[in-house]
Subunit: 281 residues, 2 copies
């Protein structure tokens, strides 16, 4: 599966590419069926919201769940990822962002790459994200807010937020502040206002199975979820195999910064599965 | 100015009535011009957000500002209010909800009437609100979320949230908890989920000058504002002159529960002003 020239150009221009009805309902159902198990994990991989109970994110899903592991090698994800990074890739991160009904908290305005550069020593933004909607994303349940084109600003240097985690995370390792609502690197309001003035904001919405590839320097955020509808989203980050993190401290565990640098190969059985499904449907 | 039979039926059915392009741009500009003065008031009438600086709401605008006082008697507001309440009316509340860019906090799911009944002793929900957009309301700046039809449930009895105000309001009178983000009477999640299942959610959006009349038992909420766009909204509450609060404790000051029970009369100079404008435009 390859993106077209037009799709690649759109990604370059706006820093993201929305792909409606991209993952089949059958596959979405299979992914959703695993979610309760992943939320049941009580290790640090399961990051909870401030109030201490609801899952905020689960990291390293591909390390503990076979189906998720295979899913990272889905031809519809891996093909485009290799094009966008222009290299072979491996799984840098594989997480669920839960944004649970009535409980999902804010993600402040931020870029992703600065976390990976500062915390993991990632040399270059030769890395891409894909977000896959496991629930319908509406205006009510905290859709991603994207500033289209903001990736062209490069890294917006911001000072780290030096707040010790508190509440449930008061004794957690320092890196927890790269994952919680008190986010370590966020873009300040005046800069966001300037970027939105220049580029606008957009909030892609759509049914389960929609996917968005987005650039690691794209400025994005999401609000709290006060609706009765969870906004479960899968996020896979693919890094170039020649862009291995090194030089900083690699303090974050492998469920946040993957250590298996072998190039991913397309999961042919998954492709076959899809072919079978499309024949039978 | 009178609402049509269809408009009245719609209000009865859905609990609100959206009126696009209702207040003229000239009048909106005049209203907006007064806002900085009102935010400058450092009394308890100016309720601030949790962090202690940004204005959350300003109450009793009509008591301190002549233009706002006259505006409450605008024929396009007073005419429909009298129809909806089926009586002469007076100003029960007149506030600005600021929902300031990057700082506006949540309004939890709630009904208005339960506050007025429990705190002020308001005998019946013979009272209506009108919200007037002073900024464009978009999907990004915390629009009102309404559950259309939920007013037909009547009062949803909920226990008060017994949290003492803290931070900037730790020494404030108890009634402050009827105005802050830790809202005293809110509808719990399971009830909201049930209502949304039955009735859905809608979030009216539109340009400055749009107005929404809504029922005092309509369940509504709004999320935080993480956008660079403030969502300034004027809210006037008109109560029937034969529905005077009595019997509880009337502990809240007159800028929250108005004490001037004289029937409002239409401001003819305002009507004349409008006529003049429409001729000159």
């Amino acid at each position: 599966m390859r993106l077209t020239e037009d799709q690649l150009r759109l990604y370059d221009e706006q820093g993201f590419l929305l792909l409606p009805d991209y993952i089949s309902p059958t596959e979405v159902d299979l992914l959703r069926a695993e979610v309760p198990k992943l939320y049941g994990d009580k290790s640090l991989r399961n990051v909870v919201e401030k109030e201490g109970h609801a899952t905020r994110s689960v990291y390293g899903c591909h390390l503990v769940n076979d189906f998720y592991n295979r899913f990272a090698r889905h031809p519809k994800l891996l093909g485009p990822a290799k094009q966008l990074v222009d290299d072979d890739v491996y799984t840098y991160q594989f997480k669920i962002n839960a944004k649970v009904a009535f409980q999902g908290d804010v993600w402040k305005w931020h870029q992703d790459y600065i976390f990976w550069r500062n915390e993991d020593g990632l040399p270059a933004p030769r890395i891409t994200n894909v977000a896959i909607f496991l629930d319908e994303v509406t205006e009510f349940n905290g859709p991603l807010f994207l500033i289209p084109g903001s990736h062209r600003e490069g890294v917006i240097e911001v000072p780290p937020l030096n707040i010790r985690p508190n509440g449930v995370y008061k004794d957690a390792p320092e890196w927890i502040s790269t994952l919680t609502a008190d986010l370590k690197y966020s873009v300040d309001s005046s800069k966001v206002a300037e970027l939105v003035e220049r580029y606008g904001i957009t909030a892609p919405k759509g049914k389960p199975g929609y996917a968005i590839f987005f650039h690691s320097n794209l400025v994005h955020a999401s609000t709290i979820n006060i609706s009765p509808f969870s906004r479960t989203m899968l996020l896979i980050t693919y890094n170039s195999v020649t862009n291995i993190p090194a030089g900083v401290d690699l303090a974050r565990p492998d469920f946040i910064a993957g250590r298996n640098y072998s190039p991913l190969t397309e999961n042919e059985s998954e492709a076959a599965h899809k072919k079978h499904k499309s024949i039978s449907s």
